[in-house]
Amino acid sequence: MLSPTLLLQNLIFGVLLGSIYALAAIGLSLIFGVVNLTNFAHGDFIMLAMYISYFLGVSLKLDPILTPIIGFPVFFLLGIAVYLAIFHKIIRAPPLSQIAVTVGLLVLLRNFALAVWHAEPKSIPRTLLGYSYRLGSILIPADRLTGMLISIATFLILHLFLTKTKTGIAMRALADNLDSAALMGVNVRNLNMLTCALGIGIVALAGGILLTFQPVNPMTGLIYGLLTWSIVAMAGLGGVSGILLSGIIFGLADAFTAAFWDPRAREITIYILFILLLWFRPKGLFGRR
């Protein structure tokens, strides 16, 4: 049963899936690292992004992969609104208070989705990318391949932004030391706001891609919240490449669990990985704190 073809097939699945998971997690990592905010509602922003994709897909007859064209600016503005209304007031609060407030936000988002879209899973059958490329006996689904390309492009742009631009370098300075950055003329409030806008905006990209191959229900935030936090914890704080690698590790775990154990057991694998990680390397694999 452990044929080389099956192994290679799941290796490819895992890498494709993982790079999309990484895209879903990068916003959380940015907000955690730069704004210094422990956001437990991140998974539910992903859930909301998937519903928004669904809504745009149904009402405008848009392919889900194209919905981020509208979703990104909407979520960018949502990030600003959430920062000003909620996050701004708790950035100096202890982590426990931040968790309490963002869990409140999570409950709000979850029940909002339940009220608007009801409990049964929603999915979009109409993606143009519902086919697969075939390399011998290996299948490469076009939706996930496109997702990976979008993800890698986003990571590349983010990397260039953070290392080559004035605002990007200031963001990294802010992540490293708030006081020093402020003294050097960095406007902490505006930069925090931009980070939240960007972090939540990118969630819209991930949501659109995820909806091409996964249905959404109001509890979707639970699994993605756990997944993205695990990715961030494994990567540790540092460069964006750590998130990409760590996302791929979780993607591989996911693919191999589904293939060789049971697709319903994926959460167990994520949990076990997460616990092992906290046990042996609480700083993360690639990070500093």
């Binding site: 004035k166 370098i169 300075a173 030391n177 402020a182 050097m184 406007n187 902490v188 500093r288």
Partner: protein
């Protein structure tokens, strides 16, 4: 008499029941190097935190270059020309020395070319060009302190506040810092305010010192006169018993 670049007027800062600064007033003339000394807990760092906008005083105000700056956020005060280094260095571990200095240079520079010029100039002035591509987490204490000075200078300040620059340094490194403070003052026309614990250091750099004790100014004048002042001796050595 040259006009003051910094005026501190009756500043009071309380933390709960503790009065960290009690109606402290003094002026700093443009172009001077002044020292602020005092025993532990005298309120020196609190004073810097008030001047740079990290703390808002309960009473009094800080006037920089003719403008009241009390209550402005730190980045606005930095933009007006006030820079600072910290007693316990606050480095950027994940930024290279060049990037760290760049953050400061962006404050006033108009374009990338000017930013590059400022970065090159400041790194050379402080003598850390060879550390350009090293990350903050790879530097030792003196290198971190020099990077902080470079970062501060890159913002093109007119007033530089230096909080305990020489704590933990070797005598050779201290000489290096003293020489640099003089050069910053003379060659760059930057007014310097130093907080210091070590009396010998302050004697060698500043023409005028202010002594704080329990949040109050107990002396202002020439450093050599401070040695003879009753109140200063009492603050440092305790009450004389007869």
């Amino acid at each position: 008499m040259p006009k003051p670049i910094l005026e501190v007027r009756g500043v009071t800062k309380r933390f709960g029941g503790l009065t960290a600064l009690n109606r402290v007033s003094f002026n700093v003339e443009e172009g001077a190097i002044i020292g602020i000394i005092g025993p532990n807990g005298a309120g020196k760092t609190t004073l810097f935190n008030v001047i740079t906008g990290f703390l808002k005083p309960e009473e009094g105000k800080v006037i920089y270059d003719g403008h009241t700056v009390t209550g402005l956020p730190p980045h606005r005060i930095a933009r007006m020309g006030v820079a600072r280094t910290f007693q316990i260095v606050k480095p950027f571990p994940e930024l290279t020395v060049e990037e760290a200095v760049r953050v400061g240079a962006y404050l006033k520079a108009e374009d990338e070319g000017e930013v590059n010029n400022i970065v090159d100039d400041v790194l050379e002035f402080v003598g850390i060009e060879h550390l350009r591509d090293r990350y903050g987490k790879e530097l030792n204490l003196i290198q971190l302190k020099l990077t902080e000075i470079a970062r501060a200078l890159a913002t093109r300040p007119r007033l530089l506040l230096v909080d305990e620059a020489v704590a933990g340094l070797t005598p050779g490194e201290i000489d290096n810092i003293i020489e640099m403070v003089h050069r910053i003052n003379r060659e760059r026309n930057i007014t310097v305010c130093l907080i210091e614990h070590i009396m010998r250091f302050i004697m060698r750099v500043s023409e005028r010192i202010i002594v704080l004790h329990h949040g109050e100014k107990i002396f202002e004048g020439k450093p050599e006169e401070a040695y003879e002042d009753e109140a200063v001796i009492k603050a440092y050595l305790g009450e004389r018993r007869i």
